[in-house]
Homo-oligomer: 142 residues x 2
DNA sequence: TACAATATGATAATGATTATCATTCCTGAG
DNA sequence: CTCAGGAATGATAATCATTATCATATTGTA
C-alpha cells in the first residue's frame, strides 16, 4: 500500500472569529439548525427542516446564512446543479465530483493549511474557509 | 522574508484527455474562442464575444461548454454572484475571494498535485481539474 | 442518395436567489 | 417608562443564469 502523499489530516477550522457576537434569535436558530445537520444543506432544505419546529421566513434563512458566512461561522459550496450548500465551519469538507452523474465523494486529506497561513500573511485577507473540489468522471460513468 | 511554505508552483494540467476528438464546428468554435480569452468567462459573455464573428446560439454555447468539461478540456468555477465562469484547462487558477465585495485575487501556488495523483489511484475517478478557492474578507472591507 | 442520429437555434420554462416593502422588534435617548 | 430610529423579519414579486423543448439543419453512413 502506498502512503498518503500530501499528508496533513483533516484540518480544523482556523478559529476565524470569536464566539458568536450579537446574533438575533433568527440568526441563532439558523446557526443551531445548521450545526445539527450531518451534511451540508441548501438554504431551502434548511428552511424546510427549521420550519417544522419554528416559523421562519425563507428570506431570513438566506440572509442569516450570508451574515454567518461573513462572520466566518458558515461556509458554502456550489453543486453542479447550481444549488449552494451550507455547512458550519469546523473541519474541511472537500469533494471529488463526477461531472457526469454529479455524485460527490468526500476527500479526507487537505494539503492547504500552510498555504492558508501564507496567503493570510501576504494578502491582508482574513481567510475564513476554503473550498477544494476535484472534478472528473467516475468509473461507473466512463 | 519568509519562504513560500507549500511550494509547488502553478501546476500544469494533467493531460486529462488526448487532443480534441471529433468536435463539431460549433464546439470547436467555442473551444477556440475560450482559448483566446485571457480571463475565465461566463457562458453568456463568451456567447457575446463569439456572436461578433460567428452566429451561434446561446444554448449551443452552454451545451458545448458542458461537453468540453466532460472531455477534460474546459474547467469551471462559480462566483459569489452565481455565475459560472469557464476557462481552458491549462494551468491552475485559484482565487482568494472577498465575501463582502466579491473581489477575487489569483493565488499563485497550488499544493494539490500530489493529492490529485493519490485520489486518482484510490478512487477510480478520472480527475480532470480541480478548484481551490479561499473565502474571507479583504482589508478594504473589514 | 435517403436514413437515422445528432447538433443547432429560438424561445419558453425552471428554479434558486434577491429585491421590495410593509410590519415587527429592539435599543437607547429623553 | 415611552417614543423614535434603525435593523430584522416575512410574504411575495422580480431577477437572471441555466435548462428543457421542439422544430429544423447537419452529418455520417448503408
Amino acid at each position: 500500500m502506498d502512503r498518503d502523499p500530501s499528508a496533513e489530516k483533516n484540518c480544523a477550522a482556523v478559529s476565524a472569529v470569536p464566539p458568536p457576537p450579537g446574533l438575533t434569535p433568527g440568526q441563532q436558530a439558523v446557526l443551531t439548525a445548521l450545526r445539527q445537520q450531518p451534511q451540508p444543506l441548501s438554504a431551502q432544505a434548511l428552511h424546510g427542516v427549521m420550519a417544522v419546529q419554528r416559523s421562519i421566513g425563507l428570506a431570513t434563512v438566506y440572509r442569516a446564512l450570508d451574515l454567518l458566512k461573513l462572520l466566518g461561522l458558515v461556509q458554502h459550496r456550489v453543486t453542479l446543479s447550481g444549488e449552494t450548500l451550507y455547512s458550519v465551519v469546523e473541519h474541511d469538507h472537500h469533494y471529488l465530483t463526477c461531472l457526469q452523474c454529479g455524485v460527490s465523494v468526500p476527500v479526507e486529506t487537505c494539503p492547504v493549511q500552510e498555504l492558508v497561513a501564507h496567503l493570510q500573511r501576504t494578502n491582508s485577507f482574513r481567510i475564513y474557509y476554503h473550498t477544494l473540489e476535484f472534478f472528473g468522471v467516475c468509473d461507473r460513468c466512463s
